[in-house]
Amino acid sequence: MIRTPRASALAATVALLAAAACSDGGDDVPVGGEEAGSGGTFVAAISAQPDQLDPHQTTAYASFQVLENVYDTLVVPNPDDLTFEPSLATDWETSEDGLTWTFTLRDDVTFHDGSELDSADVVYTFRRIIDEELQNAYRFATVEDVRAPDPTTVEFVLSEPTPNLLDHVGSYKGVAILPEGAAEDLDLATEANGTGPFRLEDVGADGITLTAFEDYWGEGPGVDEVEFRFISEPTTALTALQTGEVHWTDNVPAQRVEELQGSGDVTVETVPSVDYWYMAVNFARPPFDRAEVREAIALALDREAIADAAQFGLARVNQTAIPEESFWYHDYAPYERDVDAARDLLAEAGVEDLTMGLMVTDEYPETVEVAQVIAANLEEVGITVDIQTEQFSTWLDRQGAGDFDAFLLGWLGNLDPYGYYHSQHVCEGENNYQGYCDPETDELLERAATEADEDARKELYDEAAERIVDANSYIYLYNPSVVQAWTDEVSGYELRPDRAINLETVTLS
């Protein structure tokens, strides 16, 4: 009685599987855009699923890959030199005393639901971030008030001059402009109402779909639909790219770049990013409190080998944080590998048989790779490195508790030197886990934070950076590259050093 239906269900499944395996073998998986004359569907494979889509609450890069195309900010970084240019704001000026910034808004912007953008929306956005103490509230510590004197004007009233306010209101979509009341009207974790080129259509475990917004204020969009798929395994992502199942991916292992560039069936491009990776030692733990010991470590490192281990020749050695492309770059590289000098310094400090725990995390596999090279380098000067690979949660706990000799990590997505240097190196800095404290550096960083003149500000940061490098508060290692690949059908896409994935001008052939 039971046997028959079970057997037939089984048979049916087998038949279905068999049919599926045999069906339209030669015909590749369709990618959309079949209808003639349409802009088509652009399919992007990103390496993780966004945790949520509230721009003010998420910290996940995957979320921002999507949000970049849905929302806008007052200003945006220019992809070439990463200075800020108009977006929702056409114009801005600073008062004589630097305490009032006035932004003029575009008057032709509509949200995806058809309502028009005005200054009340901007005020609502920044009040939400500040009052609810969301992710980016720290950026607005000097903001006393955000006012809307008329529908196209927004004023920021500051407690002290904040020359990097543009960075704070525009470096990425974490400070995206929402319509007034959005957090109350919508479930922003899965819904959106932005002003960007695409509207959020569907959010699911399998992917996220965006559709073109016809009333977008800028040019484009050039495709009808964008579909994000989440493929974390690089081999799978590249296969999907090569078979044409997806048009674009950033899940490209550095060791395969050369091979893919040579193969000619996909385009692979790289550009140095604004990110940097570094090692820090714990100033609270002797002998790492001694400047000679830290300098010995800095001198022992083979930085080229480290950069190679990290990204197969795509990373660029840098002894400061900021990459060459930036206006804020400062050419300062005092360390050249010198094993003997490093040994002498250690002897001078009376340090023998030093063992250094080096905390790394498999969340960022490159730290594990880099640690091997560092261990080999330091072995040569007589320091034994104990590599401690931790889960990122444990890693962060230990970092927060000061329970480490040394660690490796990176800072991602900074554009302004305040972001690069301030909270990491001022004595009371919230991200100064290494415990570096130098009154002169503090003064330089504090002055730079409020210096309105750009050139004077750069000089202050250059000087601070030199002190930080000399004291080895951070031992800066390299700037990695952004690596992305796409098929021949894609045109109009531009790789950006800040890793923003902007699909506004992309078209498919």
Binding site: V29, D51, S232, E233, T239, Q391, S393, L396
Partner: protein, 313 residues
């Protein structure tokens, strides 16, 4: 039978309660601060405090547990504090993908194991037997992620027969659903099938040596009937148990294969919950896995009664 069922369900509730206490205690004992993780590398005390309060993590652990239990009893598993979405919604969203893969893989596994195990039991120490033993040994030893990558490279990249990754809903497009399911189901099914083959072979061998088989042969029953009704049926009892365990295991997600095939199943969800210390999500997922095991065990026990009528007496 009804009383038996009721007793089993009652026991299951106690087990679930125990699981929830255990999960709750363990995840709070495991190091790792979920709020610190949610903030990423940049730390800011005010934002941190606000997030702790929003996630309800400033309450004593016992209060958190009682709150959670009260809600769970009404079917509300809480809100994932990473995604800000209800846990139930996140789980339901991924359930179809996991069910498809688990059942697909079990079908493949049985298709491999039953014929292969039976044939090698009927001809022990023959060439067929050696081949079968070798194949199942290989199936157990080959890492599934390797098999998965090879399958993608061969069937998607080189031959272009099947899509490399992703899941399409059965209701959305049945043909695409099946096309996307084939590779992951075959990879997972091969590994499970290899395990099952050995069980089928050894229990069939055992049944072949039993007195009733000899009697059935002696009274002149056709070979087909002897094997079909006497040997296979008795050999199935342990196989049903192992298949059940395999199924429950597959339902709790096959993380690595899911990752390789970008298959958005429960395994990846649970893994993310662990990595981000998303307590509500992790609790919900583990509870669901416990339910899977209980239900599968119950079904297996009921199937025993069907396969072997003596048990239900």
């Amino acid at each position: 039978m009804t009383r038996y069922l009721l007793r089993r369900v009652g026991q299951s509730v106690v087990v679930l309660f125990g699981v929830s206490v255990a999960v709750f205690s363990i995840i709070h004992l495991v190091p790792g601060d979920p709020v610190r993780l949610a903030l990423g590398t940049r730390f800011d005390q005010r934002t941190y405090d606000a997030l702790v309060a929003r996630a309800g993590l400033d309450d004593p652990v016992l209060v958190q547990y009682v709150n959670w239990l009260g809600n769970a009893l009404t079917g509300d598993l809480g809100v994932s504090f990473r995604s800000g979405r209800p846990v139930t919604e996140l789980i339901l969203e991924r359930l179809p993908a996991t069910l498809s893969l688990a059942f697909g893989a079990i079908v493949v596994a049985l298709l491999i194991a039953v014929p292969l195990g039976l044939v090698s039991a009927l001809r022990p120490r023959s060439a067929v037997d050696y081949v079968a033993t070798f194949v199942s040994q290989a199936g157990i030893s080959i890492p599934d992620f390797w098999l998965a990558i090879v399958a993608i490279l061969v069937f998607s990249l080189t031959l272009g027969w099947l899509p490399s990754s992703g899941y399409v809903g059965l209701t959305e497009d049945p043909v695409e659903w099946a096309r996307h399911l084939v590779l992951p189901a075959v990879v997972v099914g091969t590994v499970s099938g290899a395990v099952l083959t050995r069980f089928v072979r050894s229990s069939a061998l055992e049944a072949l040596g039993e007195d009733y088989t000899r009697t059935a042969r002696a009274k002149g029953l056709p070979r087909r009937v002897v094997i079909g009704r006497h040997v296979l049926r008795n050999a199935l009892v342990p196989v049903v148990t192992v298949t059940g365990i395999q199924l429950a295991y597959l339902l709790s997600g096959v993380v690595i294969v899911e990752v390789v095939f970008a298959w958005q199943g429960l395994g990846q969800l649970a893994l993310q919950a662990v990595e981000t210390r998303d307590y509500p999500l992790l609790q919900g997922a583990v509870l669901l896995f416990a339910v899977f095991f209980l239900v599968v065990n119950l079904v297996v026990d009921l199937l025993y009664a069907v396969v072997d009528p003596r048990i239900s007496r």
